[in-house]
Symmetry: C2
């Protein structure tokens, strides 16, 4: 058989690193975990962790089996979109949750976040440190508004995919885009007060 | 000691009925459970269940230790409010979640809904049959929009109270009202299309 690009044992080493990473994230939270600490726990060199995965954010993405790196995903929708940002965000968020294969690990993550304190802390810190910071910075929206956008989007996941409340559970993505976009826009882009009114936001 | 209004054993009988009710709801869902079935499982007369609790909705409220009957709560905010309905709904929803004592059993309910299939089914059916139907009927909003309003509100609970994502977790109710009201309004009351535009909702 021809040799593949990977050296023998690479898969096993990757798994060893990811197991160590999951333990470290559960134990120390997202912020308290370092590449160095993961490497030490896995008994490998930190450079190898970098080599296999990249940044801590990438290790978390791989450890949680998320279908894509949130930073790259957010950059694609927020950093580069022309036109209606709110609609782009709703469409993109729906698209990653509509794929059953990508959805399963994300559902597992949300379920853990609601029930296991160690997982809750890691996921909370990951959301705050990575996702919301990127949104706040790149979308020029306050961290509070960014966290409220996240609450709108994850609320949809909770009712549609986790609890399965009808008719939301069987609505088409297009129906959701039509109704949810104006709502997300109201959080993303505060309505301008009418002439002469006092500023409330 | 003076006799209280309740006959001896009433507390025990109530608990017996509530235990039976929790089992029935978990086993048969909300829709499949009847007062008669709960009474049979508890070994009491159906009239006694009615006497202690009222309707099936009231039994569910008591079994889940919810701080108030959702039907009455919804009637208070939707059936009678004058002025800004979206703001009234956001304020009322916040008020019941801000009280730590009332919050605990509701958090337990949301957590069960995300993790235990029998609880998920009972809670899903309760939301669909009781809450969303009341909203759709009394607020004259489509069931799809009603379920999306619920997703906005429970998304806030998920991030603020369950995962604890900052800065939402420590925002004041007033900050939330200011940002969330326009979003909820966009779902509750579809924006009118501008003159000459085609209807999209």
């Amino acid at each position: 058989m021809p040799r593949t690009g990977r050296r023998p044992g690479a898969t096993q080493t990757r798994e060893q690193i990811l197991d160590a990473a999951r333990e470290q994230f559960a134990d120390k939270g997202y912020n308290g975990t370092t590449i160095r600490g993961i490497a030490r726990a896995a008994g490998v060199d930190p450079a190898l962790v970098h080599h296999f995965f990249g940044t801590k954010e990438d290790v978390f993405t791989a450890a949680m089996q998320l279908p894509l790196n949130p930073r790259e995903a957010l950059w694609r929708v927020i950093g580069q979109s022309e036109g209606d940002r709110a609609e782009t965000i709703v469409r993109f968020f729906l698209s990653i949750w509509e794929d059953p294969e990508g959805r399963a690990p994300m559902l597992a993550m949300v379920r853990s976040a609601t029930t296991h304190e160690p997982a809750t802390r890691a996921i909370r810190e990951f959301m705050e440190t990575v996702i919301l910071n990127h949104v706040a910075t790149n979308a020029e929206v306050s961290p509070l508004r960014a966290s409220m956008m996240a609450s709108q989007l994850f609320g949809m996941v909770l009712l549609r995919h986790i609890i399965g409340v009808q008719p939301l559970a069987s609505a088409t993505p297009e129906e959701i885009v039509q109704i949810y976009t104006p709502a997300l826009r109201a959080v993303l882009e505060p309505p301008q007060p009418p002439e002469g009114a006092s500023e409330v936001t």
